[in-house]
């Protein structure tokens, strides 16, 4: 009898606990908070002033795509959605092309990661595998369009390789010392790569290498992954005490060859921008 009472008390308490945890950490953030905050779209006319002089758009100058006859509303809705996506992408490209920094274009339709400068593709690499959060894939298209309307600016980055590394050398006192210091240059060994970039508007981009890492690389990679997992756990625990969890952090993970991952990370400026095409 005692056991029975104990069983029911414990089961009810744990059920209540489970419901509380589920509501606080999962249901509330997923169902009530927007994981894709809308971008503040810059005034396009301001950008136009920067780029050229003949800025007035001729209203009669319709493109072929725009003037095609639209048979039914479903088709026109899809067409509009496509056009809006293209418009966002081009606008972002134009904004970044007016600046002198390298930026990253992630084309998840054609599985390409492109490093661009002034609209010129400098380096292109094939994405072997890409994982996109359901919070991006399955969120309503309205929010997605607004979210991707502007380039993403980097907020924080963690990587297993240094962005810039310098070899320090003390200047020789005389020619004898200088001759002793002369060494045959060698090709530097590429370190294993995992880059976690946190952008504004909640986006987390993870760039990982396709190759199997060595023991040292594996340790560095797991250290970074562990750090992010710990952060998530502490956010969940905080949410339980405050009954409020931040919106879900959507992420995109791309797997590319090690050499390409190194090039992308090393070539991007300290505060790079990202354009998403999906």
């Amino acid at each position: 009898m005692k056991n029975k009472i104990a069983f029911w008390i414990i089961t009810l308490l744990l059920t209540a606990c489970l419901i509380f945890v589920a509501i606080t950490t999962i249901i509330r953030p997923v169902f009530t908070k927007n994981p894709l905050p809308k971008a503040t779209v810059r005034n396009y006319s301001e950008e136009k002033k920067k780029v050229g002089k003949d800025e007035i758009i001729n209203p009669g100058e319709d493109t072929a795509t725009a003037t095609e006859t639209i048979s039914n509303s479903k088709d026109s809705q899809n067409k509009l959605l496509e056009l809006k996506r293209k418009e966002n992408l081009l606008r972002s490209r134009l904004i970044l092309a007016t600046e002198d920094s390298t930026y990253l274009v992630l084309d998840l339709i054609n599985n390409l990661a492109i490093l661009e400068l002034k609209g010129i593709p400098l380096h292109e690499c094939h994405i072997i595998h890409a994982t996109i959060s359901n919070s991006i894939k399955l969120y309503n298209k309205d929010a997605l369009l607004g979210w991707m309307a502007e380039p993403f600016v980097l907020r924080n980055v963690e990587a297993t390789i240094p962005k810039i590394s310098y070899v320090e050398k003390i200047a020789p006192k005389d020619t004898l010392e200088a001759n002793k210091m002369v060494t045959e240059p060698k090709e530097a060994k590429l370190g294993d790569v995992l880059v976690v970039m946190e952008f504004e508007r909640n986006l987390r981009l993870i760039i990982s290498q396709n190759e199997q890492p060595d023991a040292d690389g594996l340790k560095l990679i797991s250290d970074i992954r562990r750090k992010y997992n710990k952060n998530e756990i502490s956010r969940s625990i905080q949410a339980l005490t405050k009954f409020n969890r931040e919106p879900v952090k959507p992420h995109i993970e791309i797997v590319i060859p090690k050499s390409d991952a190194t090039i992308l990370y090393k070539s991007l400026p300290l505060s790079p921008r990202l354009i998403l095409k999906m």
């Binding site: 089961t11 780029v51 010129i120 359901n134």
Partner: protein
């Protein structure tokens, strides 16, 4: 029959405790793997979603939006087209020490190895000199054949030699830059090298060194004002 029931009870009573244990484990899992659970929850949310982006808009309004969007796109495309280089250009990859020479349409006409900055910090007393190739967009400012190199101070510091006066003949070197040199600003150049075996390695003081044949093609293709993209 009763004996059998009594025997099965302890087994049942142990088995029933699996339920609270499961509830406890699930709660802990939810805390430990919150992102995974959240991501799955979005699938459920999606089932109940279905809000259309253009809900409540008339077909005419949508068609107008299509037209407007089309006009904006063509306008932006024109602007982007204007930003493209009007002359052939070169792209230098400092991580892999490779270059690609492209024509105005962006097609690669030649690729090859090069040498870029060795990323070295030379400390000479209070002076700190960094040998690295700058990244970004540059313009060919000047082209010259058999250009002599006027050695800067660091060339003497690095060799442990006393620094001569600014106009000293010791500063002039006729062999280092090779047959052709193209200035890209701030003292940086694209030039040849005596050390062909080091091509493909980061060994320079910041300039971009090319092999003899590549240099000749690049020199003949690029003109004053051509763009140089370094990343």
């Amino acid at each position: 029959m009763e004996i059998e029931e009594k025997k099965s009870r302890p087994f049942l009573s142990i088995l029933i405790w699996i339920i609270p244990v499961f509830l406890f484990c699930l709660s802990v899992m939810m805390i430990l793997y919150t992102p995974v659970f959240q991501d799955s929850a979005f699938k459920v949310k999606f089932l109940f979603a279905g809000k259309s982006l253009f809900e409540g808009k008339s077909p005419e309004a949508i068609e107008n939006m299509v037209l407007r969007s089309g006009r904006t796109i063509s306008s932006i495309e024109t602007k982007l087209e204007k930003l493209k280089p009007v002359k052939p250009y070169i792209v230098v990859n400092t991580t892999e020490n490779r270059f690609s020479l492209r024509n105005v349409d962006g097609d690669t006409v030649r690729t090859g190895v090069c040498s870029t900055g060795k990323n070295e910090l030379l400390i000479a007393g209070n002076k700190r000199i960094i040998f690295k190739t700058p990244k970004g967009i540059f313009t060919v400012r000047n082209k010259q054949q058999n250009r002599p190199w006027v050695k800067p101070d660091w060339a003497f510091i690095e060799d442990g030699l006393p620094i001569p006066s600014a106009r000293s003949a010791e500063r002039i070197d006729y062999s280092t830059l090779g047959d052709y040199a193209m200035e890209i600003g701030n003292g940086y150049m694209i030039h040849g090298t005596l050390y062909q075996r080091f091509l493909g390695l980061p060994v320079t003081h910041g300039c971009v060194r090319l092999g003899d044949k590549d240099l000749e093609v690049v020199y003949n293709t690029l003109s004053k004002g051509s763009k140089v993209y370094i990343y």
